[in-house]
């Protein structure tokens, strides 16, 4: 199993891809997911994160099979 990582909007453009797939082993939090997928690139401070399509904090736990998403503040409506 693995963790699916998704990026949206300006963050997707800045990382240069819309998705990653990571081995779950060694990942504990949402923050770990970002660091493994984007080494040497800090997550922009205003970014939001979601696990399985619900908003979470960066120190929230992840489990095998989760979909983790990172994106900028939302601007719909």
């Amino acid at each position: 199993m693995s963790i699916k990582v998704r990026y949206f909007a300006s963050l997707k453009e800045s990382v240069g891809r819309s998705e990653d797939s990571l081995e779950f082993a060694g990942l504990t939090t949402v923050s770990d997911v970002w660091c493994r997928a984007n080494p040497n690139k800090p997550l922009p401070s205003n970014s939001l994160a979601a696990v399985n399509m619900d908003y979470v904090e960066l120190d929230s736990a992840v489990k095998d099979g989760d979909e983790v998403a990172f994106f900028p503040p939302v601007t719909g409506g």
Partner: protein, 148 residues
């Protein structure tokens, strides 16, 4: 309660009418309908805007909007609600969002509609990228607080 994401232009008045006419169980129950429509402008932050692309997170968008409508229904006695939101390429004067709320009394309709709209602006995962008349493109950075 219905939440819809539309990739094509929609007519918010037809959507509201069709929804109300199809909900026969509401007949005689509602005394107030509050409708909010957000429409694309051809100006923003001092620039002329030619068009806009609205990106969203399929699945999470619907999940968050359904949550927001459920929250409003717990706070006010909402009989029915309809939320429609555009995605994709949008031109000035095209509707972006429709929120319609049916209740027995007007205060609840206004309040529940406002709650849904403000929560949508801060929590529903949509992102706007504007195309300026100058051909430059820019992502909107954040939504303004509707209560300011």
């Amino acid at each position: 309660m219905i939440v819809k994401i539309c990739a094509e232009p929609f007519d918010p008045w037809q959507e509201t009418q069709a929804h109300q006419y199809s909900a026969s169980d509401m007949e005689g129950k509602f005394g107030a309908t509050c409708v909010f429509i957000g429409t694309m402008r051809d100006f923003n932050e001092g620039d002329d805007i030619k068009g806009m692309t609205l990106e969203h997170y399929p699945g999470m968008t619907e999940k968050q909007l359904e949550k927001i409508v459920a929250e409003a229904s717990r706070q006010w006695p909402v009989i029915d609600a309809l939320v429609v939101h555009r995605v994709g390429d949008i031109l000035p004067n095209e509707p972006i969002v429709l929120v319609a709320v049916w209740t027995s009394h007007r205060g609840d309709a206004f309040d529940a509609n406002r709650y849904i709209m403000e929560a949508l602006k801060s929590r529903a995962p949509f992102w706007k990228k504007e195309l300026l008349k100058s051909q430059a493109e820019r992502w909107l950075v954040k939504n303004t607080d509707g209560y300011l």
